[in-house]
Symmetry: C2
Subunit: 215 residues, 2 copies
Amino acid sequence: MSLVRVHNFSISLDGFGTGDGQSAEAPFGHAGEVLHEWMFATRFWYEMTGKSGGSAGLDDAFARQHGPGIGAEIMGAGKFGPPGWHKDPDWKGWWGPNPPFHTPTFVLTHHPRPSIEMEGGTTYHFIDASPAKALETAREAADGQDVRLGGGPTMIREFVAAGLVDHMHVVVVPILLGRGERLWDGLEDKEKDFAVEAVSSPSGVTHLTFTRTES
Amino acid sequence: MSLVRVHNFSISLDGFGTGDGQSAEAPFGHAGEVLHEWMFATRFWYEMTGKSGGSAGLDDAFARQHGPGIGAEIMGAGKFGPPGWHKDPDWKGWWGPNPPFHTPTFVLTHHPRPSIEMEGGTTYHFIDASPAKALETAREAADGQDVRLGGGPTMIREFVAAGLVDHMHVVVVPILLGRGERLWDGLEDKEKDFAVEAVSSPSGVTHLTFTRTES
């Protein structure tokens, strides 16, 4: 059974998954990197960026669930580039020549373009589709493996609202961003489809896992 | 030093401290009692309601910080009664003849009325005042002890925004209410005035404590 999974999705105490004012210089807007500092400190991140070191505790255990078993990713347009990237025919994403996805990666956009093959197994495909239709496409590409939803908050919210998410790992960072894009808007009672666990980490963040209980 | 403290203030994952549609039958609106079930299960609550039993773990340890050292409470109008209570001259609050405050209790309202002395040490006073002015009044009544802010979310938000809170205990319940009154709105960066701790409980809730670090 191919599952739909969310990993390492970080939000502020007040629920923002990105800050206000996303731009080429500020992928997370005014939030900067503060939502992901917990992850940058893990061995998972050190290894991924070719360094040695990093923490091997709870945060690392969660962080490294990101890769195994994943056969494709779907990401929102804002995770691929700043507003207006579709006007730049040479834009190849925020993630460098060897992106950390290593699978077919479907970018949701109203401006599809030809696919781009990157190093390390990532191929970007650009699709203008509903959550259900995008998932159908990604699942086919995943070839029996799971599909990861990469964010941002808007696309995750839409997939949760559509009842398409099986497993979701959300990390609550103890900051108040005040503005940006909220993860939880319009999801009243949606937690009832899941078993929810919360576990706080010595780093200060709290890991929430949502595991679907309905079939 | 007389501190300003918040205890057992419960919010949903999406940040709502009360649900939508507060009324005489539904003090927390559509949220019902679900925000406070963690507390109803504690020995603290059992004792307060004259029963024996209840859990003696983490939730209880936090819950029973509510009383000790408190010399006065300030509460918002919505914690005293449903919308329109000021039109009923006989309304004496939602909390029965022996309310769980046991101190002078200042109700913030645009419709002040004469004070009401209840059993058990609670006297309700009704004041139309800014957070700073209300605190001045309550602090005088507290006679050197601490002042508790009783909620709801609007009044706590206002006191935090005004920099008046020294210690705040917020309990995050893993539900998505979707609508109601949010605690965190308009408090960008306010966490920076505090040391923040998060600890998740086996009951499923996460206790957040904010301890002021600036003087």
